[in-house]
Every structure is written in C-alpha cells, then in structure tokens.
Symmetry: C2
Subunit: 322 residues, 2 copies
C-alpha cells in the first residue's frame, strides 16, 4: 500500500492543479497538498489490479476520484462552517467563501478533465456515466445530512441511505471504475461496487460506535464528540426506536438542551444507550454490512491472490472487534 501511495503521489506531483489566474488554482492545489490517506485512489488501483496489472493506465481515473473527493470537502466545509481540515485551515477560512465556491467548481471540472484522459476512449462514456452518478449521489447525501439536522423523525433506513450516499457510494465507485477501466465483466463490476458500498457503510457504523464507545487513545479523538454535538448517529436513532417513552423523552431532552456539562451529558446519554444494549445492535448492523462486503469479494471473478490486497485493506478497515 505504501508503494501504491507513492506511485499515486508521484503522478499527482507531476500533474499539479495549476493555471491562471492563480487565485483560482492556488486553493485547489493547497487542499490537494494537505495530504489525506489517498484512500480513493488506492481503491481504484485495487479494483483495477483484480483484473489487470498495468496500473499506470488507471492513474488519471484515480486522480479524478481524489480531486472529486477534495472538491466535495471544500464545498462541504463551507456548508458545515468548518475551520480545520487535516490539521490546517479550510480553503474558505484561509481565503474566503467565494474562493471556496469557485475553486471547488474548478476542481469538479478538473476531475472530469482527468477522467477524459483515460487512454481507452471506448470506455469513457460508461466511466462518465458512473462518475456523474456518484457525483450526483454525493450531493444528495450532503443535502440529506443537512435536512436531518432539523428533522426529529429520521428513520434508521434513511440514516443508512444518507451515510451510504455521503461516503460509501464514492468508495464503491472507486472500485467499480477501476474494474471498468480494466475491462472486467459486468457481474464483477457490480460485485466490486457492492464490496465498496457495504464496507463503507460498515466503516461508517464503526465510526459511530468508536466515537461513543471507543477508547480515547486508540481512536485519537475525544470520546463522545457526536453526543456533545447532538448528532443523530445510528446509536441515537436506534435508542429512539427501541426506548420506552421515558427513555425517549430523556434522550430528546438531553439532545435539545444546550450542553453545559459535556462529561455529564455524555455519561447520561451513554447510560440510556447501555440500558438498551445499543452497542450490540450497532455491532450486529456493522457485521451485517461487513459480511455482505466479503460475500461480494468472494463472488467476483478474480484469483484469490489478486483479491488478497483488497481483502487485507477491508479487514484492516473494519475490524470485527472494534
């Protein structure tokens, strides 16, 4: 993986997002240079190498997907009023909102420009359709997330759909586009998509679990952040579904009042979650999607040796006991 990441970074540095006027391009290159795990390019490579070895051919697509991801971060950070991204100032904080909007737009266009650079022209129409579908879905997921903030009646199925649209479908599409680029058969392309989508949902559920039930040091962030921010995570929604009238009322009251004592609030919410065995419910849900992901990995038509790197990533991403 270290090698693949280096392979990607070398290409990226050879193809910086530069041009005139610099006020438009500089913020785009700034966010791209803030780092990140490059997880989307990695998945694109892993989808491709299931079926073909000449990874340099899929580089423009991997880059397109990483640029797209960073575009969505720039615009989401404006909408979420976030100051910090990857430990540095967000684009609209370092420059201003207008710059964030316009440089973000440029990045979305640049992602399509790199997509159009894929050598096998006959595959471009399908890649274009798949890429545009996921770009649209990511917008839909962001809007659902915004809508949920002011809604009191969010259902678990809607929540799963929202996290799928907001993050999993892009991971799924990275694997899918890698497979399409490599000329995989239709069924395998579909399996690749399902691997990414299900592992993404499992990862997101694990994220919800760790934020509330993780060990601070391991997780690397303050435990209970979601609770303090009144986020309607899977845990909260499940508790609202299963709780007695009294438990629901207490939970809603906790979430609707301003946080004065954060530790006390986290403790009170966790106590309700524990009464209802929410951790176990969440882990079962996570394991359900995790298992689906591995079933689709099993089903796709590639040699076990080729599947090994992807399998290792998946296992690392969603550990059964965390």
């Amino acid at each position: 993986m270290q090698e693949l990441r280096h392979f990607f970074e070398t290409y990226r540095k050879q193809h910086p997002i530069t041009g005139q006027p610099v006020g438009l391009y500089e913020p785009a290159e700034y966010i791209m240079n803030l780092g990140g795990k490059r997880f989307r390019p990695m998945l694109t490579f892993l989808g491709y190498q299931l079926f073909k070895d000449d990874l340099e051919k899929v580089l423009p697509i991997a880059y397109a997907l990483e640029i797209f991801h960073n575009f969505s971060l720039v615009h989401d950070d404006i909408m979420d009023d976030a100051d910090i991204r990857r430990g540095a100032a967000t684009v609209h904080t370092k420059w201003d909102v207008n710059t964030g909007i316009l440089s973000g737009d440029l990045m979305l266009v640049k992602s399509y420009e790199y997509l159009a650079e894929f050598e096998e022209e006959d595959k471009i129409p399908q890649l274009l359709r798949v890429f545009s579908r996921v770009a649209r879905e990511v917008c839909e997921g962001q809007q659902m997330d915004v809508d949920f903030e002011s809604r009191e009646d969010v259902q678990i199925e809607e929540y799963i759909r929202m996290i799928a649209l907001k993050t999993s479908v892009l991971l799924a599409t990275c694997l899918e586009m890698g497979a399409i680029a490599a000329g995989a058969d239709e069924a395998s392309v579909k399996h690749c998509y399902e691997v990414g989508c299900n592992i993404g949902i499992a990862f997101q559920l694990q994220d919800d679990i760790l934020d509330t039930f993780g060990e601070g040091q391991k997780v690397g962030k303050r435990i209970g952040g979601d609770i303090i921010q009144n986020k309607k995570t899977f845990l909260i929604l499940k508790a609202l579904e299963l709780g007695s009238a009294a438990q629901k009322a207490e939970l809603e009251q906790l979430m609707n009042s301003p946080t004065t004592d954060a530790d006390a609030k986290v403790k009170a919410v966790k106590s309700i979650l524990n009464e209802l065995d929410i951790l176990q419910h969440a882990q079962e849900k996570k394991d359900h999607y995790r298992a689906l992901a591995f079933e689709h990995l099993e089903a796709l038509a590639a040699p076990a040796a080729k599947k090994a790197p992807l399998k290792a990533i998946m296992e690392n991403l969603v550990k059964r006991d965390s």
Copy 2:
C-alpha cells in the same frame, strides 16, 4: 427561432431536474424555469444544423449547455451578492447560500449527465473534453472578473480575455459542440468556435457601449449603470490608456469616490470619454470582432442556405450602428 425555442422547451419540460431530496432539486428546477433567452441551446442547434438536419439528436447536448449556464448563474449570483435574476429572487436569496452552492454543484453534474446521453458514443470523449475545457475557462473568467475589482492596472487585452472567458467561450463552444455532434470536419468545427467567440466579444463590447451611450428606452435599463458601479469596462480602460495625466487623475478620482450625485457622475465621466473619442474606439474594436466572426462564418464548409439562420442571429445580435 421561435420554433427552435419551443422545440427545446418541450424537451426540457419532459426532462425536469427532479429527484430526492427535494431540497436539492427544487432550486435547480426553479432557476431553469425562470426562463431566459435559451441562447446557448439555440447556438447548439444552429451549429448542428449547418451539417445535419436531425436536430432531436443534439437535444441532450443543448440541454447540458443550458444547465451549465444556469449553474454558473447560481454560483456567480452568490459571489456577486445579487438578489435578482430574470426579475425573480436568486436561488441563494430565495433559499440560502448553502443551498445555492449544493444545488449549483448538482446542476454542474447534471449537465455532464445529459452530455453522456448523446447517442453516438464514439463522439462523447471529444465532447467531454471540449465541455470540460469551457467549464474550466468560465471559472477562470469569473476569477479574473473578481480580481479586476481590486486591481488598478487592468490592461485592455486582459479585459478582452476576461469577457471572452466569462461569456464568449461558452457561446463559441455551443456552436462547436453542435458541429462536433453533427460530425463536421475539423476545420469547420474550428470556424464554428471562432464565429461564436468573436461575435460574443463584439456583443459584450456593444453591451459596454450601450450601457453608457445607448438610449435608455431602447436598451431597457438605466443608462450609466456601469459608471455608477465603477465598472472597469472597455470604455474606462481605453480612456485610462489614452487620457492625459489630468484626465486619468480626474477619472480615477471619480471612480474611487462614493457616488453622491449619480447623474453628475455619469455626466462627468461621459465628458472625459467624449473628449477622448472613446465611443469611436469602442465601435472600431467591436467592428473588428464582428468582422472576424463573419469571416469565419464565410469560411466554414456549409451551404449558404444552411448558414442563413445563424447569420441572421449574428446580425441581430451585433448591429453595426448600435
């Protein structure tokens, strides 16, 4: 033309921008329904019908270009803090800035989705490249426009480049994509592009002229609006280039002080412009680009009868004496 517009509107109404969540799609369909001249689809049709007659095939491309244009309006209106568009509230005024950003993003993606619907798949890669190029250039033009507001040293050539990027290249690309879709030869495609680009610049220069020297009733808006807003139009930039030190100083002083008496300001600025024969310079510049546009129309390989509708539009758009 009336017929072509109806043809386009019928298709558009059959393909509204709808989906879930409605909070994302409604603003997009709202701006599309505010009307507008549909000038970009018209040019796409005109570029196509120079070479082929089955106009229904180019409809998705015409629609993609109109959606793209409206996307750019939604985001530009946020950046320009504009409240009114086509006589109605702008998207970010009717909803909010975040909605404007996200629905705008959706529209950019939808424009690519319609592009991908063109039937002749082998032409899609080229169409994708041309479309992405113009989308990028429109972002560049908007950034130049923003930069110019705070710059005191804008050169005429830069101004022409800015208006070209901000509006002309999109008109040019409409004709170009129509021609590509119709399978025109490479030279004719290039001529189509040049027709649109040059007529667009001529139109923009005419717009500058009319705003200051037009007759209010004919133009349909208040004369002198650009002067009151201290816009660095061709007229002002040319006066700064040709004026004596005293004239330049007076002009800069007028533009840098708050407008207390609008009529007096317009009169004072126009007096300097008249001293320097700026109207004649502007008309010569406009005629230069106008002539270039007609030369390229002449040069492209299509029968005169096929060129007639485009020629009529061009003549109407940029009248020699206005």
